[in-house]
Symmetry: C2
Subunit: 159 residues, 2 copies
């Protein structure tokens, strides 16, 4: 048992799922109205896949960020981890707003490329401070890589 | 794919983990200072067990409550589900405050018996509206039953 505090992990999870809730709110209406009407590739996953996948990813990313934050050796490093984590949560929810609320796959594609680059940079950073944090972060990077490819394909099919 | 909104599930999870964070904050200091010094039964679980168990339980209870809330047939019933869910989160965090922050196992024992009774009542309610909600709720009831027995034993060993 570490002597360090336990409460930050639930706090990370709570903040992550608040952001997840915003992203879902931005998605909810369009996913059953606009999204079924646009052109999509044959390998587009069924809608029911997204909720369990994202629930798992938000949980894993919270644990990863909490571990990396806890493993920071200076307060400045810990604060930077928090800012990067908050920034990627914002970019995540922003993507849902661009793609689903505003129906702008092209704009969303530009955004998701920047978002994915930030996720990669965060993973490299985590790998330096806590190896397990980087491992827990990788399903998130894998899924957003797939989402980037799907977004690009959808943009192309509906251009 | 249901046409209903996706965002309430992350909202349930966020609220649950905010409460979990309060409970952990109430526990953090005492679990490595006061708790190791009191008499405990041989079957007291090691401290590291609690964080993963509670993370899983908070996730399962959130999904259960979300399902039961969604399955409500009237707005009044849905609101009552929310109030009962909020009340049990408060009783959960309050137990940590009584036991760990205030070091009052006797008072905590009285509280956890009431808390467990509320959890049982909630489970019966869930069973009527959504069978899976009641199933997802049962590990929580099982763990708090065990915690009640552990609390009672610790109170007895330190009376």
């Amino acid at each position: 048992m570490r002597t360090r505090s336990l409460w930050p992990l639930p706090a990370f999870i709570a903040v992550s799922f608040l952001a997840a809730g915003l992203g879902s709110a931005a998605t909810t209406s369009a996913i059953t109205t606009w999204y079924p009407t646009i052109n999509k590739p044959s390998w587009n996953p069924p809608n029911w896949v997204f909720a369990p996948v994202w629930t798992t990813l938000y949980l894993l990313m919270s644990i990863a960020a909490w571990r990396a934050w806890r493993a920071a050796t200076t307060p400045a490093e810990a604060t930077k981890t928090l800012w990067l984590y908050a920034a990627q949560l914002v970019l995540n929810a922003l993507w849902s707003a661009l793609f689903f609320t505003l129906h702008r796959p092209g704009l969303a594609l530009i955004e998701i490329v920047l978002f994915l680059a930030l996720l990669g940079a965060i993973q490299l950073r985590f790998a330096r401070t806590d190896r397990l944090a980087a491992i827990l972060w990788s399903p998130y990077v894998a899924w957003v890589s797939f989402a980037t490819f799907l977004n690009g394909t959808i943009w192309w099919l509906n251009r």
